[in-house]
């Protein structure tokens, strides 16, 4: 794929720190992202996700730690390195007095080996808007232009920061298909998202960041402590609502029905990524608060 050693991970981060004054926005994070992998970064607003990603993209300086992206330190990497990246920023921006097609053609011309402009427009579902000025598009359509601009340079490594904000459900499905096809072509993808179903759908592995620390990392379906994934049986009886975690929910339900007959609100809940994620974040935040009761609350970035 590239001139550097392909056995190296696409991204390598060791003990990354970023301080703003006394505030530790990123507080010692380490992880690797393998080539061809789709990696999701999850976390609440202000957790340090965007700061981390922007350090990887070369937008921000770090306070300390080691970072290697496609074999180079983003701090010193040049144009040839940027040509191998695709970046979809969180903020949609554009003066907008150009058509979708003109903008994509212009950005394609900046890269040594771009994708076909019309194919990219089709891939993001904007064929009918190709000749429309960007300023006349809806928010969701502009977001698709952002994604199109991020992939038109045929990146080896694609950063997606909250890519589907403002998408309708159909557009999100379509976007997921696009990301899967990029992944099949070997593109390494770093996805930051608030939509946990999106992370579950797309990513091979996910990391959860809270309070500038990496609190969990692994394959999406193994995230969180094992007990967090134990199914819950919930029912209501005369004494109120009951919840019980059990590895054998069917047997538990059978026993309940045998003892009480038909029960109102009886359900078996298999905790989804969202439940596990919320648990993880809540636990981490409680710990942080316990450790540093008077830390200032200034959040420098989202």
């Amino acid at each position: 794929m590239s001139t550097d050693d392909t056995s190296d991970p696409a991204v390598r981060v060791r003990d990354l720190r970023k301080d703003y004054g006394h505030f530790h926005a990123v507080d010692g994070i380490s992880f690797d992202i393998e080539r061809g992998e789709t990696f999701a970064l999850l976390g609440p607003n202000g957790a340090g996700k965007s700061t981390t990603v922007e350090i990887l993209e070369g937008y921000r300086e770090r306070t300390s730690g080691e970072v290697s992206v496609l074999g180079q330190d983003p701090r010193h990497a040049g144009l040839a390195w940027k040509a191998r990246l695709g970046i979809v920023l969180q903020q949609t921006g554009e003066s907008g007095n150009v058509s979708v097609r003109e903008q994509l053609a212009h950005f394609a011309s900046l890269y040594p080996n771009p994708r076909d402009v019309d194919e990219v427009i089709a891939a993001v579902g904007l064929e009918e808007k190709a000749k429309t000025r960007i300023k006349s598009l809806s928010g969701g359509q502009r977001r698709r232009v952002d994604v199109a601009l991020g992939i038109v340079g045929r990146p080896e490594l694609l950063f997606l920061d909250e890519p589907t904000t403002g998408f309708d459900p159909e557009a999100r499905r379509q976007f997921w298909e696009l990301i899967r096809s990029l992944s099949r072509e070997g593109t390494t993808i770093v996805l930051t998202t608030h939509y946990l179903d999106e992370a579950a759908q797309l990513s091979d592995r996910a990391a959860v960041i809270a309070g500038g620390r990496l609190i969990e990392m692994g394959p999406v379906h193994e995230l969180g402590p094992a007990e967090a994934r134990i199914p819950i049986v919930r029912w209501r009886d005369a004494s109120g609502l009951h919840e019980e975690r059990t590895e054998t929910p069917a047997a538990r339900v059978a026993a309940l029905v045998a003892a009480h007959g038909e029960l109102p609100e009886l359900e078996v809940i298999r905790p989804g990524l969202e439940d596990i994620y919320l648990d993880l974040v809540a636990t981490a935040e409680a710990e942080t608060r316990a450790q540093t009761p008077t830390q200032e609350q200034t959040r420098v970035d989202a």
Partner: protein, 283 residues
Amino acid sequence: MTTTPTRPTASFGPLRTLRLGLARAVYETTIYFRAGDTIFFTFLFPVVLLGIFSVAFQGLGNVGEVNGQGGVSQAAFYLPGMIAAGILLSGVQNLGIDIAVERSDGTLKRLAGTPLPVVSYFMGKIGQVLVTSLAQIAILILLARVAFGVELPTEPAKWLTFAWVYLLSISTAAVLGIAISQLPKSGKSASPVIIPPLLVLQFISGVYISFSLLPDWLQAISSVFPLKWIAQGMRSVFLPDDFAAAEVGGSWDLPGVAIVLGIWLVVGLVVCRIGFRWIRKDS
């Protein structure tokens, strides 16, 4: 799709920078002419003013007439000032606002993430300024000649002076525009921060009001800024030589024009070099 040809690093050389600079210039110029407000406030403003002044003051007769002899029409008198104002607007005002808006709306950040060289970006801006300001001056001269019958200089020496004064002026104006684009705190405040001081400068630099009518202290202030010198250089091209007597030192003082504009050009370049960031320090 899966195999990417090895990328020759040589393709990131000066030729590519030049090619992308030209592509940016075409792109920037196209966008410029699509924005209605810049067309009016930057591109057509001096043209409209030349028309208004020429018509409104026609009744006052010629400027610089002695015993019904000599002198020039109001249109001829205002032409060099409007060309100077156009250079200031196309360079300083246009780029100052444009880049401040691009910084705040995320355009610069997006470009910073692409393999576009900073030099190509500036080539695009300066190319756009050159194309639009030359078009503006052509329209001004055409309007003066066709609508108001202004006589244009015929001596090659005058046009040679025009060429160097123009190039030095537009370069200085473009560089200063890039430099002051760092002043507005947001895209929305760009126009209110940049337009009013430039308007004041136009009034005290002999563009709308004859420079010799200003009190000495105001003349001293405006002599610090480049516009007074741009206008003076342009007067030396478009007004008859006997008008030089009305200038401050009794001459066109072209060496002074070159020195003051040269100093501003260097100051502007230094500020750009130190101050400009895509969003951080960058290649």
